[in-house]
């Protein structure tokens, strides 16, 4: 698989970006300077701060820093403005103490980086309306968005492949019935169905169950496509000489399915897995954006975007749109990888 990706520049780039996102997602609490729900009450709608190397006197610092921004409210215009305060510099420091978190079995409070000593609230991507750091939340959001995407795709592919294999192999009345159901799931609009199903998730579900719940809901609306493709492939593989040969020397049905037919479907499954992950991430974003799917205290990119649904917030604090670009980048990368894989592994498909 690596050889496949190596020869396609776009796929290679996509997979590297994805790997980066996955690493960030796994070590989210360590990499994010603040917690996902850590609030800085007076810093609501804080604009993004940029990293600088040269200060106002033209001196170069090898250690980058940010300038403090202070808020001022004008009673005449009724507007809040943020001014860069060039007298206060917060230097970048590594391995600083911050909010404690649990990673696997350890309770830690060391974060990869922070600014100033003692650590100051610094907003790379700006702050949301209630004073949380969008950068940190984006990192935590990557965790949830990617986890749900991959999990939903895994369930959808697993279930779809099983149904497709059995339905295609057994055929007859079972196949006819199953295919009608598959047809129903492939023609019913995914997002509306997922919205309806996720409205059934109990409101008091603990976060980790909710994550699984949303993943299952999304897999329910995405499994049909894979199932149909696998069924089609199984139908044609069933008639190939080597399967008939296996039959003639007395191979059992189970052996024929798992040893002879299933391995030939794996390339298609890999391709479908990547593309279904993209669909699932988009679906999760849509659901959470509309207020279904993920709920606080968890955060996902789609959920963060729902702040920007407010016209006033969107136009005066456009940095609330940043999570949308993250979704865009991830989906683009997945599509690059998926396309490259399809071209290389499955030369017969259009």
């Amino acid at each position: 698989m690596w050889n496949v990706l190596k020869n396609n520049k776009l796929s290679l780039m996509g997979s590297l970006i994805l790997i980066g996102f996955v690493i960030v997602a796994i070590f989210a609490p360590f990499i994010a300077p603040f917690g996902n729900n850590q609030q800085f009450p007076k810093k609501g709608d804080h604009p993004p701060q940029s990293l600088r190397f040269i200060d106002k006197n033209g001196n170069f610092h090898i250690r980058p820093f940010v300038y403090e921004k202070t808020k001022s409210f004008s009673f005449e215009t009724g507007k809040t403005t943020w001014k860069v305060d060039k007298s206060q510099k917060h230097f970048l420091r590594f391995f600083v103490k911050g909010q404690s978190y649990k990673f696997l079995f350890w309770h830690l409070d060391i974060h990869l980086f922070g600014f100033g000593d003692p650590p100051q609230p610094v907003f790379f991507f700006g702050g949301d309306p209630i004073g949380r750091d969008i950068f940190s939340r984006s990192i935590y959001g990557a965790r949830v968005s990617l986890a749900i995407g991959a999990l939903a795709a895994l369930i959808a592919i697993g279930f779809g492949a099983t149904v497709g294999l059995i339905s295609g192999y057994v055929g007859g009345a079972l196949d006819a019935v199953v295919q009608r159901i598959v047809e129903f799931f492939s023609i019913i609009p995914n997002i509306p169905l997922a919205l309806t199903l996720s409205a059934f998730l109990p409101p008091d579900l603990p976060p980790i169950y909710l994550l699984f719940g949303v993943a299952i809901v999304i897999s329910i609306v995405t499994w049909a496509d894979t199932s149909r493709q696998i069924r089609g492939l199984t139908l044609s593989l069933k008639e190939t000489d080597y399967v008939i040969a296996a039959h003639s020397y007395g191979a059992s049905e189970v052996r024929k399915i798992f040893k002879h037919i299933f391995p030939r479907t794996i390339t298609l499954l890999i391709v479908n897995f990547t593309l279904t992950t993209a669909h699932a991430i988009l679906a999760e974003a849509g659901l959470s954006f509309l207020g279904f799917g993920i709920r606080p205290p968890m955060v996902s990119w789609g959920k963060m975007l729902s702040y920007a649904q407010n016209l006033l917030v969107m136009t005066s604090q456009p940095w609330n749109l940043i999570p949308g670009f993250l979704i865009f980048i991830v989906i683009l990368s997945i599509n690059f990888v998926g396309d490259g894989l399809r071209d290389a592994l499955d030369p017969y498909s259009a």
Binding site: R180, E183, F184, S186, I187, I188, P189, N190, I191, P192, L193, L195, T196, L197, A199, F200, A278, L282, A285, G286, F289, L290, G291, F292, L305, A308, Q309, L311, M314, T315, P318, L321, G324, I327, F328, I331, L332, N335, F336, D339, A350
Partner: protein, 326 residues
């Protein structure tokens, strides 16, 4: 052909019945029913004993009948256009849905015409100019187009419009035209608004149509009959026509699927741009657990998709004479 038509019609009706049955099951899935909910409400206001009320209400709504009979009651009402009353709006569901369905169909047709015409033209260009600068450009744009979440695209469009000083932020009409009778000015106003949802949803559609068209045509262009056509000295345009006729068929057979996908985007984009199509009210119904209203929306969407599929099948049978009439 007529037999084929009848058979497809039969399958279509079967799908309608089957899907309505599954949706009815979906409505019945959550614990509690309208009877327990209303009984709880009534007993809170001193309407009587809870258990007794539940029994009485169950009888009134026919909830103590067998599941199949309940389904039949509901479905026969639906066929007569009676979807029941909405809990949150206190109005008949059909009344709420009707105008939205009209706009949805109009918007859908606009989006599909826009996306297909642009997508097919670009696809043909890309395939006939493979590896040219234009092809690379469109392929890249296509990747971007299928990757951007369309509700996010809609948000970006609003942002850009607001920043550039426009006062159009969504909807289908400016406030002064909302209730005005139809005239030329209102139509112009509609055009000023409707391009936003069309573009927001259409971008991804163009990208996918373009990709399919390019791949299909590339496959056809290398076949023998194209070479023969060239050898006969036909002009390039004529040659492309040969290929395009064949390459377009898989697109039509996928039109049904496209229709279903259309709703995915339309629902989300409609919420962002507050367009009065199927979307905002559906979300509202789900949030306030108005099951009758929500299920009516689901059902209407399914009906539209199934009917669209039927027409796509018919169209394909007309366009592609190789289709076996089975």
């Amino acid at each position: 052909m007529f037999a084929f038509f009848l058979r497809r019609l039969g399958i279509t009706i079967l799908m309608v019945v089957l899907s309505s049955f599954l949706i009815f099951g979906l409505i019945k899935m959550p614990p509690g029913s309208i009877a327990t909910r209303e009984a709880a409400e009534m007993s809170k206001h001193g309407g009587g004993q809870y258990g007794e009320l539940v029994e009485r209400l169950k009888k009134r709504y026919g909830l103590n009948k067998h599941f199949i009979l309940q389904y039949w009651d509901w479905f026969s009402d639906v066929l007569r256009g009676n979807f029941g009353r909405s809990n949150i709006y206190k109005r008949p569901v059909s009344e709420i849905i009707l105008s939205e369905v009209g706009w949805t169909i109009i918007l859908g047709i606009l989006i599909l015409t826009f996306a297909w015409s642009v997508g097919i033209v670009i696809g043909i260009y890309s395939a006939t100019h493979q590896y040219s600068f234009g092809d690379h450009l469109f392929t890249t744009l296509g990747f971007l187009g299928i990757s951007i979440p369309n509700f996010f695209l809609a948000m970006l469009m609003i942002y850009i419009l607001v920043i550039s000083g426009s006062n159009i932020t969504g909807g289908l009409f400016s406030s002064e035209f909302k209730t005005a009778p139809w005239n030329w000015a209102k139509f112009i106003d509609l055009l000023k608004h409707i391009w936003m949802p069309v573009l927001a949803v259409g971008t991804a559609k163009i990208a996918s149509v373009m990709r399919i068209m390019r791949n299909n045509l590339l496959e056809e262009i290398n076949k023998d009959y194209i070479r023969t056509a060239r050898a006969k000295g036909l002009s390039e345009i004529e040659v492309w026509k040969h290929g395009v006729r064949v390459a377009i068929n898989p697109l039509i057979s996928k039109a049904g699927m496209q229709l279903s996908r259309l709703f995915n985007s339309v629902v989300l984009v409609a919420v962002v741009l507050s367009v009065p199509v199927i979307g905002p009210t559906f979300i509202e119904a789900l949030k306030s657990q108005d099951t009758l209203l929500a299920s009516a929306y689901l059902l209407i969407m399914l009906f539209l998709v199934i009917i669209g599929n039927f027409f796509a099948d018919m169209l394909l049978a007309i366009v592609d004479p190789r289709i076996k009439y089975y």
